[in-house]
Subunit: 455 residues, 2 copies
Amino acid sequence: MSLHTKILLEEHDIPTHWYNIVADMTTPPAPPLGPNGQPVPPEALGAIFPGAILEQEMSGERWIEIPEEVREAYRIWRPSPLYRAHRLERMLGTPAKIYYKNEAVSPAGSHKPNTAVPQAFYNKQAGITRLSTETGAGQWGSSLAFAGQMFGIAVRVYMVKISYQQKPSRRSMMQTWGAEVFASPSDLTKAGRDALAADPNNMGSLGLAISEAVEEAAGRADTNYSLGSVLNHVLLHQTVIGLEAKKQLAKVGDYPDMIFAPCGGGSNFGGIAFPFLADKAAGDAKAKNLRLVAVEPTSCPTLTQGVYAYDYGDASGYTPIMKMYTLGHDFMPPGIHAGGLRYHGDSPLVSQLYHEKLIEAVAVPQLATFEAGVMFARAEGVIPAPESCHGIRACIDEALRCKQSGEPKTLLFNLSGHGHFDMAAYDRYFSGGLEDFAYPKEAVTASLEHLPKVG
Amino acid sequence: MSLHTKILLEEHDIPTHWYNIVADMTTPPAPPLGPNGQPVPPEALGAIFPGAILEQEMSGERWIEIPEEVREAYRIWRPSPLYRAHRLERMLGTPAKIYYKNEAVSPAGSHKPNTAVPQAFYNKQAGITRLSTETGAGQWGSSLAFAGQMFGIAVRVYMVKISYQQKPSRRSMMQTWGAEVFASPSDLTKAGRDALAADPNNMGSLGLAISEAVEEAAGRADTNYSLGSVLNHVLLHQTVIGLEAKKQLAKVGDYPDMIFAPCGGGSNFGGIAFPFLADKAAGDAKAKNLRLVAVEPTSCPTLTQGVYAYDYGDASGYTPIMKMYTLGHDFMPPGIHAGGLRYHGDSPLVSQLYHEKLIEAVAVPQLATFEAGVMFARAEGVIPAPESCHGIRACIDEALRCKQSGEPKTLLFNLSGHGHFDMAAYDRYFSGGLEDFAYPKEAVTASLEHLPKVG
């Protein structure tokens, strides 16, 4: 048995290919549909995405090569360490073995650069000189700012105005990496100007920021748009997490019984889970009883309470419609601190796998996630992001069940990011200022009435 | 030639012993003196430090064993990676090879836990259940809070009131790790109460916070005091940095021509420099021309403009006096953002080595350090702490001299911490709100008139 705390890989162990789960799905993914109800042809999205990204979005190939330039940029923080959480196990008194993949070690502090880097690279390669994107709390904007800087590509971030004002550190981080950051709604786009004309005090929303970023990309030949979750190519890029984790566990002769990851748009969960699902698909005996658990907030329980239907990806209905679990595109989730999990929908790939019962989902309330985050920080040192606390909570709950049953299960979770820019949320937790939100059933019911009609 | 970006070591490569430079100094260090002008006997400090720490403070042994419990806690983040800064080299167009040791990867975000962990361990071993300390900007308080949590020892932090109000994230970080944090001056100590009686609006100072922490430790049998820099045992613990860096450079067949590190109290500089100085002392041919450069702020230029004399370690004159470079203990440095470098004195060991011309020093102005920090962040990803920007500035300046001269020197600097909690300083830099402070000659001259009389 290894007594390692960290299980490290060398740079030559960075995966050479991303894993595309579409190749192993028994039913082909349902296509995104346009306003005419027909599948959207890739060319229709050519105004905002480069060809290489669109190809990946539609690809059925099992392995897609990672360009050498991307692997070189990955070396700044990859392979990320896999930790054996000895101290957390002792604190819980569990016979379970707990491992976590530490994605907080990237410069931006989360798993998001895993896809920001290739997106910047492919756009650069396509002759694009500017990228536009939106950001809420700032994790994704930071990651794209960093990635743009790596490849000499300018980045414009439309940051939801309330976050722009409340999280100046994230804004300064993006500026340090050379990005331009604008509070959204801004007067730079028609969408922004219209919103400001209707209400000069509009504090912004993610949906509106998306509209501004897309409008800018659609209107300029030198500019493309970049998205940080939900889409197939984003989840594809994130599979470096699970591919490395498999290699690291093999190094110490172990394999998980259960895997946990927070699930908002789905890229964090898909990133760690899909490469293990590949083992299941291949009929690998050691994966026979493997369970994969997506963890979402009780207040925004897309998989556990939503419906599996075609819906818009954004709040305003500008995007193609996608088949996914959704709470309705005009559902506004309560103001929990895990901003990355406040999304009405979910990745179409994750949604289909959940629908086919190949993965599981569980919803956890906010206070319990912070309790788990503090336990983890005290045991293991790293202070987790509020999103990550969701995966930790579900993993701790399972470890405590193992304590009851005496089962020495092997558990793995994805530590998707650190909480250095979320300490105000911890502060509110300590001072008793945080609350739990019940499942907002009525709001969801109302929102589901506005699902787009298909066919 | 290696094309590595990161040069990693395994956990079994964590040093088994700290290196004590005292064993290799030609003149024994000048002893600290008490109020009677006589050397302070170790026992006199027994009320606030455990025996094992006092032994290390006075030791002349070359190698001091690192307890297994400390090595186990080190595994959370050690060995820290050594980076080859390929991208920075390309950005500068220099023929120099630039390496940096990344100490920002610790949970607290800097090199400080390297000594906080053994200090907590030795105190726990001595039956101490509480530690008191002071913190200015919060780096040291965070590190001791983390270390105390690792060993089940309670930590009380007196945080300078202005920082307590301006840096709530650092405070929440300490609380997440279970520490109690009080704004200093507080009403918990006589020193605090006296200060508040004289001025209810007193916003605190590091000197006053030290007085509160020391008073609490001196007055309670269960409580000891812990210091994060300056003293011999602190620099001893930090030598894990340089010991690992030597092993990492050897792994790629390299050795530095010059080493740079910021220097405030001296533990960061001593930590990376001393193990290389050992090679010089041993007459190792490859170290013959090695130059070690301590980098300090123009506004607080202790080594480059101070005098080598006995002076108090704190502002109020409560500590024993130590032989060191000093600007006078009542010199109040201008308000630069590198709070860790705003110290009137310097480590007695670093001071003596500088006096003996075994190391060099250079002073750099604030704006140039932020310029260097931004260049570094854009090239290498990590956003450095303002203190770390000083070492980076001096290293970049040398790399640019190499560009002029064509010399392919090997340069190494210590990236002592990340700047996640210092983004407000970057923000001020970008918005033009930061200034350079000239060397405050008159204030220093006045302060030097108050040096204690010796003999």
